[in-house]
Subunit: 223 residues, 2 copies
DNA sequence: AAATATTTTTAGATTAATCTAAAAATATTT
DNA sequence: AAATATTTTTAGATTAATCTAAAAATATTT
């Protein structure tokens, strides 16, 4: 069972997770203070507290690392954050870039049943609107890689996370195809003749796209 | 514009609203302490604070009343609470009696756009799963009355909030008709011959019900 | 390696929300 | 109306999360 933590404690654990590259490195007091918009002194106090609760490992002047319980709590909060982001985008028609602040609040709602039901309601999504993976019930995170659409295999699904060219004509064309950051794309087939690809967008429309355009669309894909 | 309030301040205003019969009476320190599960001393401190912010009227030993700003804030929180309850029941298949605690948390999420989108997503509901009215964007609350289904006029819509008879056979029958507390019922027509009624349940199935049964089903109806 | 700069910790305060215990005011009973 | 009971307020503490300023430790430069 996860410990019941204060909103602040949850935010610290989350920040440590993100700053430590998914929990693999030590996080310095100063970097945490900056990312939490607080002072090193406050961070220091909180480190002692989290350390006493066995959520983080902490040695004076050596920074913090997540211990298993802290990591589990961090991942649970991140899971909720990303599920709510999917809800906001898929169900309430928010844009990709409008959801973060609201999800920062929703992620702290405490109800295991709510998370379970929300997950089902959303169709058990595995990637959020930013292309980041959603940790599962047990805190297991699928790794994602970023690659241009032109390099995917048929059958792969991903989320459009970057357009590596800001040519007006390209952006206008993407707009016409209803392709924008956060769009879910499945590669249906590649035409060997010219490398152009057929894609399905958000599980609905199919489009053909040239190899050149496909090369400029950066997706995150599950490994 | 509504002031930005702490979670605790919002809860106090909400409690005052409920205990004062929608803001019409003075609320005593002791009754507030009981309803908030805290001490009269804590309530007293908070009353001073809310009074300084012009949210409540407060005179020593005389209890508290909501001032316009406090009332508006209370109603906004109640609006969010009830909208989220509709979400939990209609979209996530929670039972009407499982949603209160979760809604107590969700009601404090701050995002006007979220409330607006949620309202639209839910089809602009006017009554929550408990049959209570949902205040509108401007804090206007429609009054509801309770009446047995047998007394409604054709065309009226309401929510089943009580069954005034616990006979096994009746409950089993209601179960068979998928009628339970929180069901949305529209009276389609009344048969003059025997007073039996045709109702639509949750906007989907139609059923015929005898006058006797209809007399035992208590609904809340918008005036 | 000594001097300097940077980072981190400690010491002591502050704010919001809470508490207990005692004092003061109000309400009720006799 | 005096005595008693109840309610409310005040005074002074406590806890979580924060802060500033100074001290201590570590890292970097010369």
């Amino acid at each position: 069972m996860l410990q019941s933590l204060s909103l602040t404690e949850e935010n610290y654990l989350k920040a440590i997770y993100h700053l430590s590259d998914h929990g693999s490195e030590n996080v310095s007091t100063n970097s945490l203070a900056e990312s939490m918009s607080t002072t090193p002194a406050s961070v220091n106090d909180m480190m002692k507290k989290l350390s006493n609760k066995n959520l983080i490992g902490y040695k004076k002047y050596k920074g913090a690392t997540l211990l298993p319980d802290g990591r589990a709590s961090a991942l649970h909060v991140i899971r909720k954050h990303r599920l709510w982001e999917v809800f906001l985008v898929d169900k309430l028609n928010f844009k990709w870039d409008e959801v973060h602040e609201i999800a920062e609040q929703l992620e702290h709602i405490k109800s295991p049943l709510l998370v379970e039901r929300l997950n089902e309601f959303l169709g058990k999504p595995v990637i959020d609107p930013h292309g980041d993976p959603i940790p599962d019930e047990n805190g297991v995170v699928k790794e994602v890689t970023k690659a241009p659409l032109s390099e995917l295999k048929p059958g792969s699904k991903g989320v459009l996370v970057n357009v590596s060219n800001d040519d007006r004509a390209l952006l206008r064309h993407l707009d016409k195809l209803q392709l924008s950051l956060g769009s879910k794309i499945e590669l249906i087939e590649r035409i060997d003749f010219d490398g152009s690809v057929c894609i399905q967008v958000d599980g609905q429309v199919n489009h053909f796209i040239s190899q050149t355009i496909a090369g400029n669309l950066l997706l995150t894909v599950l490994d």
